[in-house]
């Protein structure tokens, strides 16, 4: 009796492993391991806990953006305005607190503004039938403009100690688990579950895969689109505030190109920019590879000009590798 039970369990484990080995993410995991190994050989400090914290911290903002963009991409959209929005949010938060608003109210207000921004974009996309590319390019310009206007182009100091905590608070008193890291990981897990396990998550895939079919199956494309953009822009707002807290200043010129880092990580992680395909876990792996690579290059003190080349080459390499593996599996 007992014996068979164990056997069964053993078998399950094996088949799980097999499934895992065949899963879409295995080549990314492999790439990540190879990368970590190489960098660790080249610099003994690469694999230290301290460096992990430093990588995770610098990934914390991009991570939030990556989650939002991954969901958008699966729903066949993208948001090119989030870098501006994050900067705007940081500045706005700093200004509100300068005017005496308490931290809690400030955070809520900024999140509300983020949600509103998302609403606007979704309105342009659903109601006025703009492509999300162009609608968000426009929004990018507008939000950046506002970030400069409200701050008059100057960085705004943040002194509110409660607010500054969101940049440095150690969760559960753990040294490595600062709030930015914790929040990023939380968002990955949370949205991983939402996308995979919930109805709304499934609907995003359907809408991204074939919007006409989705509509005729009773899914509201409008609702899904609003949801996606609001979600993205709230994440950008929160990310912007966390960055501002980490930097002790809201800066209008921050986060240029942030959207690209997020989108690139997601696509590297197997999310398709044609909609309907991808996972949050994949996006996380993509992010880990990119951020780990950037960090490794800095540690090895590679000249910044060459860092550009190396980053591009990494992307191409990882995707080529993925292609070859997919092809091999097919054959």
């Amino acid at each position: 009796m007992q014996n068979t039970a164990i056997k069964k369990k053993g078998f399950d484990f094996k088949s799980e492993l097999k499934r895992f080995m065949k899963s879409d993410n295995i080549s990314l995991i492999f790439a990540l391991i190879v990368m970590i190994t190489i960098f660790s050989l080249l610099n003994e400090n690469y694999r230290t806990g301290r460096n992990l914290i430093s990588v995770l911290t610098s990934a914390s903002l991009t991570g939030l953006i990556c989650v939002g963009e991954a969901m958008l991409l699966i729903g066949n959209h993208m948001d090119l305005s989030v870098g501006s929005s994050a900067a705007f949010s940081g500045v706005l938060a700093a200004l509100l607190m300068q005017r005496g608003l308490p931290a809690g109210a400030t955070i809520l207000a900024v999140i509300a503004v983020g949600a509103l921004t998302g609403c606007c974009i979704a309105f342009f996309v659903t109601k006025l039938k703009m492509s999300s590319f162009i609608a968000t390019v426009a929004m990018q310009s507008i939000m950046r403009g506002f970030a400069f206007i409200i701050s008059n182009g100057e960085g705004v100091l943040i002194t509110n100690p409660t607010f500054l905590k969101i940049g440095s608070l150690k969760i559960f008193g753990l040294q490595f688990l600062t709030f930015p890291i914790f929040f990023m990981l939380l968002i990955f897990v949370l949205f991983g579950i939402i996308l995979k396990r919930t109805r709304i998550g499934r609907e995003i895939y359907i809408v991204g895969g074939n919007p006409t079919a989705a509509r005729l199956a009773g899914i509201s494309i409008k609702k899904t689109t609003y949801m996606l953009f609001i979600n993205m822009n709230i994440l950008a707002s929160v990310g912007g505030m966390i960055l501002a807290a980490r930097m002790n200043t809201g800066q209008p010129q921050a986060c240029v190109g942030l959207e690209f880092d997020g989108i690139t990580a997601a696509i590297l992680g197997g999310v398709s920019n044609q909609g309907g395909v991808g996972s949050i876990f994949g996006a996380f792996l993509g992010l880990a590879i990119l951020q780990g690579f950037n960090n490794g290059l800095i540690m090895l003190n590679v000249q910044s000009f060459w860092q550009n080349v190396a980053k591009g080459a990494l992307l191409l390499l990882a995707l080529t590798f993925d292609y070859l593996r997919a092809k091999k599996r097919k054959a």
């Binding site: 919930t198 109805r199 895969g209 074939n210 006409t212 079919a213 989705a214 005729l216 899914i219």
Partner: protein
């Protein structure tokens, strides 16, 4: 016997599927050969191999005694092969003429000669006798005409081997008549023709020989004149299916009115008034573009209505979206599975459970076990041929894709269900099962609207038949009076009447 086109021991394997197994036969010039077989039997796969689109695992193809192997459709075209795929393949924003001449437009001094292009296209359109203009973008014409454009495109290539993969699925009778004239003309010109269809009457009407497939294997090659329908069906299905329509267990307890439309109009339908009762099957007939699909879409909240009233069980009903309609217990199984039904990159499971996802969820979370159970049941009930429920729908045969759409909507337990061409691309065996399911639904008191361009099917299954033309309902014919002639006369008659009126 040395046939013009010969397949020898063709095998084709996909991951988890042996689509073709040791397939050998040939096709002569001046001959029309039918491919017959259940959904997923391998018919389309063989045509795609011939077209250089798929590469067979083993076996050989000969044309005119010479072994050939095509690595791309381009090579096949150059070798004089033209295949019309089961799924339309057009460039939506380009004109009819440009689509007809896709890949080989007439040029002058290196530039496309649009005058010549439109002229030549017009000639072909006229030859087919269709009411479309060469300059219209393909996106703007109805599905039936798009299919005809697809056929004209292949026709225009002047190939020696022409293959039609279920060309009539989106067509109505009038276009089918045109198509058959064209095919016969091609035959007379000495072309070798392959014709794939699930419609037995078409096979008997037009083909010379029949190749029967089952599970990727060759079951036999027969002269069409020498076999009966029942024999063929037995060969492909492996059992008798009897008299499809007479064996149906019909519902005789028609209940209260479920749906009532009073003078409903929008941009494509005019003044529609009708009633559908619980347990009743109402057939919709008419020519392509008559507006049947649009009536269905209006009921389902997919298109807005501009005037008129709809009531559901006596209560006012103004659906703003398909969601509204579904919440009120209405289901619509759409006409075009690829555009409106399926997300091709998602799995069988994700596509099947779509309409009832809400029921499979608890607190917003999908219950995967329930979902898998539901899907395996659907796969069994509808006999969907797929290696696993995690297969991407894209990799399924056309008929099996259609079954997924049907399974999805049947599962919803609606009070009113609308089928728009439900058996499009479905094999004979499965068809009869679907008819049984539709009748079963009616017996449970579901009101059914069935739009179909196959007259025997509408007549065979409906309690009443509404005939539409130009966005209007022209006749309401009870089952006992329905004949193909009568329906057709209503579907086309008006023009004559109008002519008469004009003459007076």
């Amino acid at each position: 016997m040395s046939e013009y086109l010969k397949f020898e021991k063709i095998c084709m394997e996909f991951p988890g599927v042996k689509a073709l197994d040791d397939m050998s036969f040939g096709v002569n010039k001046g001959e029309i050969v039918a491919f017959l077989g259940e959904n997923g039997a391998g018919k389309s796969t063989l045509l795609k191999i011939l077209n250089g689109d798929y590469h067979h695992t083993s076996g050989k193809v000969y044309i005119d005694g010479k072994e050939v192997e095509f690595h791309s459709p381009n090579e096949a075209i150059k070798a004089g092969i033209s295949v019309i795929y089961q799924e339309r393949q057009l460039a939506p924003y380009l004109s009819v003429a440009e689509n007809i001449f896709m890949g080989n437009p007439p040029t002058k001094n290196g530039f496309i000669d649009f005058k010549e292009l439109n002229k030549k296209a017009k000639e072909i359109i006229d030859e087919f006798g269709l009411p479309i203009t060469p300059e219209t973008p393909v996106k703007k014409i109805s599905v039936a005409f798009q299919q005809m454009v697809e056929i004209m495109k292949a026709y225009n290539r002047k190939a020696d081997i022409i293959c039609f993969d279920e060309p009539t699925a989106p067509l109505t009778d009038s276009e089918i008549v045109i198509l058959f004239q064209i095919i016969n003309k091609l035959k007379a010109q000495g072309k070798a023709i392959i014709y794939v269809s699930h419609r037995m009457n078409e096979i008997f009407e037009i083909t010379d020989r029949v190749v029967v497939f089952k599970d990727g294997k060759l079951m036999g090659v027969e002269n069409t004149g020498d076999v009966t329908e029942a024999q063929l069906i037995k060969m492909m299905v492996g059992r008798d299916i009897g008299d499809v329509f007479n064996d149906l267990k019909r519902n005789d307890k028609i209940g209260d009115v479920v749906l009532e439309m009073k003078n409903v109009s929008n941009s494509s339908i005019k003044d529609i008034s009708l009633q559908v009762k619980a347990g009743e099957i109402v057939g919709f007939s008419g020519l392509a573009g008559a507006g049947r699909t649009e009536v269905a879409r209006a009921i389902f909240g997919a298109d807005p209505i501009t005037s008129g009233e709809i009531t559901l069980k006596g209560k006012p009903y103004h659906p703003k979206s398909p969601r509204d309609a579904m919440d009120r217990g209405i289901a619509l199984c759409p006409e075009d599975r690829k555009l409106e039904g399926l997300s091709l990159i998602l799995t069988v499971r994700e596509n099947s459970s779509l309409a009832i996802l809400g029921n499979l969820c608890k607190a917003g979370f999908v219950n995967f076990k329930q979902e898998r159970d539901f899907t395996s049941k659907a796969i069994k009930e509808f006999n969907i041929k797929t290696p696993t429920m995690e297969q991407k729908v894209n990799n399924l045969s056309g008929g099996n894709q259609q079954k997924i759409v049907l399974a999805r909507w049947m599962a919803m337990n609606p009070q009113l269900i609308i089928f728009d061409e439900p058996t499009k691309g479905i094999d004979v065996g499965a068809k009869s099962e679907i008819y049984h399911m539709i009748c079963e639904a009616a017996r449970k008191g579901v009101a059914v609207i069935m739009i179909s361009s196959e007259l025997p099917e509408v007549i065979g299954i409906s309690d009443r038949i509404l005939v539409m033309k130009d966005g209007k309902i022209k006749a309401d014919i009870p089952r006992k009076d329905a004949t193909e002639q009568l329906i057709l006369s209503y579907a086309m008659l008006d023009e004559k009447e109008n002519e008469k009126e004009a003459a007076v």
